[in-house]
């Protein structure tokens, strides 16, 4: 349908409007473009032969039977595809001496985790390709798995990559004393230990291993028939993928086009340059045919990168009056078997966030990155910051308990007051704006905090079997992953700028090209709102284009809550340039001086007269180019690349009223309230949706999800039967609200919202569970807080023996009473 008539009214005042999404029309009718939907003439289908064992030498591969299966075109190993020397990229060497193993897209000689790809089968259809993988006989000479991080670092441990000489990849330290941004945490803690007016609290927390579990399985199609190789991939990062795939394979970068069509969620899980992308590319080139690979869900859970997996040793020192003195953080972070794209940097993204909203005078952070024979880890929603927020919010509760203080009051005593912004933290970051008091006051009121505290006292006094706890999380996060200079100082391999361009079409419609790559975030709608305001053109007249390196040649893609705070600002900057260029032509059209024009509601008007032209009329005039001022180019299109000076710092207060059945360990979320300050709100409807989804993932870490490995290093819950994503009936409705302190670092005053819910909610839930049973002597329950673990914690605290059955860390089935295959009872072992 063509609509060249400019009938729609300008829709300025879009900022702050809860627009329903324009992208929904396709998605609710099934008119979708998932990568797996793509079918090309002569297309072949690829399936991977994956290692069933964690660590072994490959002593032989017999593919004769597979090759003989009708419909099979080829079976390839790394050497066959010219990939034996290739290594997948790690873009973040966190220390100059970081140890990174060779990471071939297909294993060469040795497999390093169960799921490591060994060979590929290419066939005429998917079913045949998958059938044939079963016929590829691989001989493995087993080597011991490397599973436990502390054992991996011990003297004499099996080395996963013997050529590196160690299982430690890197040791990264920040010390505010050495950086000159604060005192020495070690000294402050030592002093506190000898000071009767001070207290030191130590705890160990465990961040279990999680799986991002985006709903759309990964899929790659490569068509080698054009001048540029075209790769479609279910990826968050088409631009980075293009650059890195070129670097990995030797395909010149100008000979590769990457398209991320409709992408069904990512959550960091599709922030990757995958072995499969490289293998499909190589196979397609070798065969001269389009090749497709789409993973099964089980394959996805097994081989797509995992998230979190840290051991956190936290030490906090405070005066007896509650004033915090120092924080010392010692982490072990599980890299898994290889360093993927930003594996090594994920824990470092938390390095500046453990101090959070509190005024610590001294801070130290140290992290050792460790190799194990498990699926590689990498970004998962929040990436480093959920880990930091969990640790600080848990230890603040522990400090409050040790001091006998009300936990929210203790926080307030130590947090940055609203009049103290901008505030430079002990890490040297400048928090531009915030108001923790306002968010907390609103959250307390919405929860009915004081009444629930009274009810808690009553239930404790009456010995009610169902106890009540209130979980608190007052958090901040660093968002808007950019400033390039900061990323450079952290040895990250790229910049953090973002690009946008605006194309004014002949009849006045607008194409907005953005370098960020949406996969559920609603950028088409939100960017249209921005441009409608900036240019005064109707919302409906704007098309947002993204996710194709040929259409959107420059970008750094979508992750780290950066799209609006960086990419959205690039759109604003491009629009400002369009208006500036249009102003020159408008002045010419109106025979007026540029200085006499005012631009409002899409119209350049001559001050003090009724004369004016619309920006659409200017676009048409520029396109016709019959009568332009001398030396003015016939275009008002513009592009802008924006690199912010600082991160943004959303914050908020999350409160969870948790009920714990002390007889069964069952945990119920009675009420969840969050008040988030994400700066100015562009589209409240989308913001609320992001918060809801974030909460669900953060709560899932607290209560439901964990990737479990057995003692052979096999992932034991690698299907949706036993990797327990919450369903609708596992979650409550949340009470969400906002307070607003605009970011001062960008012209829209926006901060980012994609990760807030996930970062804040996990400690709120766990603090609530522990608060419910703390009076019974419990001060720790490991995540996920399954009924079994909660019940055990209560029993142990009461000095009661628990049956000699599975203990805590490995309980598939989310502890729903299922037998634990990791720790079977003696009599169950056959």
């Amino acid at each position: 349908m063509t609509d060249t008539q400019l009938t729609a009214e300008p829709t300025t005042g879009e900022f702050g409007k809860s627009r329903t999404r324009k992208e929904d029309a396709r998605l609710i009718t099934g008119r979708t473009r998932w990568t797996d939907n793509i079918t090309l003439p002569g297309m072949l289908h690829l399936a991977l032969v994956r290692s069933p064992v964690a660590h072994a030498r490959i002593t032989g591969i017999d593919a004769d039977e597979a090759r003989a299966l009708p419909g099979v075109i080829a079976v390839y190993t790394a050497a066959d595809l010219g990939l034996a020397e290739a290594s997948l990229p790690n873009a973040w060497p966190v220390t100059p001496d970081q140890k990174a193993p060779q990471a071939p897209p297909l294993a060469v000689d040795t497999v390093h985790f169960a799921g490591d790809a060994v060979a590929v089968v290419i066939a005429r259809d998917t079913a045949t390709a998958r059938d044939a993988t079963e016929l590829v006989l691989v001989d493995y000479d087993d080597l011991p798995p490397v599973l436990d991080m502390e054992e991996a670092l011990a003297e004499g441990a099996t080395l996963l990559h013997p050529d590196l000489g160690t299982n430690a990849s890197a040791h990264w330290v920040f010390d505010s004393g050495e950086a000159g941004t604060g005192g020495s945490a070690k000294e402050a803690i030592a002093a506190a230990e000898n000071d009767p007016d001070a207290i030191v609290v130590r705890r160990r927390f465990r961040q279990q291993r999680l799986i991002p579990a985006f709903m759309e399985p990964r899929s790659v199609v490569v068509d080698p028939s054009g001048e540029q190789l075209t790769m479609w991939s279910a990826t968050q990062i088409p631009h980075i993928l293009k650059t890195m795939a070129a670097a990995t394979t030797g395909v010149p970068e100008h000979k590769l086009r990457v398209i991320a069509p409709d992408v069904g969620g990512g959550f960091g899980g599709k922030l990757q340059v995958t072995p499969e992308e490289i293998v499909v590319l190589a196979a397609s080139v070798k065969l001269g045919k389009p090749v497709k690979w789409t993973e099964t869900r089980s394959e996805s859970l097994l081989s797509a990168h995992h998230g979190r997996d840290q051991i956190q040793d936290i030490t906090i020192a405070a005066k007896r009056d509650g004033t915090v003195l120092a924080l010392d953080v010692d982490l072990l972070a599980d890299m898994g078997a290889y360093l993927r794209l930003v594996t090594s940097g994920i824990p470092i993204l938390g390095a500046f966030m453990f101090n959070s909203i509190y005024k610590f005078p001294a801070y130290r952070f140290a992290c050792t990155n460790v190799f194990t024979s498990k699926t590689p880890t990498d970004a998962y929603r929040g990436a480093g910051r959920p880990e930091a927020t969990f640790a600080i919010e848990r230890i603040m509760d522990e400090l409050a308990a040790e001091l006998g203080r009300e936990p929210l009051e203790l926080r307030e005593q130590n947090w940055i007051k609203h009049e103290e912004f901008p505030f430079t933290t002990v890490c040297g970051l400048e928090y531009d704006s915030g108001n923790y008091e306002a968010a907390t006051a609103k959250a307390k009121e919405l929860l009915g905090y004081d009444a629930l505290r009274r009810e808690q006292q009553e239930r404790r006094a009456s010995g009610d079997p169902v106890q009540l706890g209130i979980g608190i999380s007052t958090f901040t996060e660093m968002c808007g992953l950019a400033p390039s200079r900061v990323l450079g100082s952290l040895a990250y391999g790229a910049g953090g700028w973002e690009n946008a361009s605006i194309r004014m079409l002949p009849f006045g419609k607008v194409e907005v090209v953005t370098g960020v790559s949406a996969h559920g975030q609603g950028h088409e709608t939100a960017w249209s709102q921005i441009v409608a305001d900036q240019l005064g053109v109707p919302f409906e007249d704007i098309e947002v284009l993204h996710g194709d390196t040929q259409i959107s040649p420059k970008g750094m893609d979508t992750y780290g809550s950066r799209s609006l705070a960086v990419g959205g600002i690039a759109v604003v900057k491009a629009a400002e340039k369009v208006v500036a260029k249009a102003r020159t032509i408008a002045a010419h059209m109106l025979e007026a001086s540029e200085d006499d024009l005012e631009f409002s509601g899409g119209r350049f008007g001559v001050k003090g007269t009724g004369k004016g032209v619309t920006i659409q009329e200017v676009a048409t005039t520029a396109w016709a180019a019959h009568d332009l001022p001398d030396g003015v180019e016939p275009s008002i299109d513009a592009d802008a690349t924006y690199d912010p000076d600082n991160f943004s710092f959303p914050h908020g207060t999350h409160l969870a009223a948790m009920e714990v059945d002390t007889d069964t360990g069952r945990v119920t979320i009675r009420k969840y309230v969050c008040v988030d300050d994400v700066g100015n709100a562009l589209n409240p409807l989308i913001i609320e949706g992001q918060v809801h989804g974030g909460l669900a993932q953060g709560i899932a870490q607290a209560l439901f999800e964990e990737a479990n490995y057995d003692e052979q290093g096999t992932l034991v819950n690698g299907t949706f039967v036993d990797y327990t994503l919450p369903s609708a009936s596992d979650l409550p409705s949340f009470t969400t609200d906002r307070t607003t302190t605009p970011a001062t670092s960008n012209p829209l005053g926006v901060k980012g919202v994609g990760e807030a819910g996930t970062i804040a909610s996990t400690p709120a839930i766990v603090n609530g569970v522990i608060d419910a049973v703390r009076h019974l002597g419990v001060n720790e329950v490991e995540m996920p807080c399954t009924p079994q673990r909660v019940w055990r914690a209560v029993q142990a605290a009461q000095g009661r023996a628990t049956q000699e059955t599975p203990v805590d860390t490995h309980s598939p089935g989310a502890g729903l009473g299922s037998i634990d295959p990791n720790n079977p009872q003696e009599e169950e072992v056959q």
């Binding site: 099934g30 069904g264 949706g689 669900a696 369903s727 609708a728």
Partner: protein, 170 residues
């Protein structure tokens, strides 16, 4: 090979299929009905939900040959005469989708749920869609959408709407 005769979104098809072919692959690969998607391999996620003779089924758990003689409605056949089904409309209005991958299955399941229970409370909605996983929304807006659609589908509230086809052959 086995022959199937099946009506999908109002169009009749006759095809030879491998007996092991799942209905979802028949829909996607043979008929190009790519609106219906595959999200898992253990029938847990519900992304592939369609209606088989008016009842919701996970099309990854039905063989194509089992659909012989049946009528299948997918997300692509839900809107009639250019009019969105009230559930589709409510999903947009309530922001009940983000990436949209679970949406086809979620919508088809919600339509089925409202056929059984035209006025579900929040708990009933949550129970009714628990076989469909969503990773983006935290379900809250999906629940809101289903209840909003229920309201819109009440007689007299809005224009008459298509209800699921009656169960045939059962």
């Amino acid at each position: 090979m086995a022959q199937v005769r099946v009506t999908v979104d109002g169009v009749q098809y006759v095809d030879e299929v491998e007996p092991r072919m799942l209905l979802v692959y028949y829909l996607r690969e043979r008929l190009g009905k790519t609106g219906t998607v595959v999200g898992c391999d253990t029938s847990n996620c519900g992304a592939c939900t369609v209606h088989l003779n008016g009842q919701s089924v996970k099309s990854c758990s039905v063989l194509a040959v089992q659909a012989d003689g049946a009528e299948v409605t997918t997300i692509e056949g839900l809107a009639r005469d250019g009019q969105l089904h009230p559930v589709q409309k409510a999903f947009n209005e309530c922001h009940a989708l983000q990436c949209g991958f679970c949406t086809p299955g979620m919508v088809m399941q919600a339509v089925d749920l409202l056929g059984d229970n035209p006025d579900p409370d929040e708990h009933e909605v949550r129970e009714g869609i628990e076989g469909n996983l969503c990773r983006c929304t935290g379900y809250q807006n999906i629940v809101r959408a289903v209840q909003s659609a229920a309201h819109a589908m009440k007689p007299g509230v809005a224009a008459p709407v298509e209800t699921p086809a009656p169960v045939a052959g059962s």
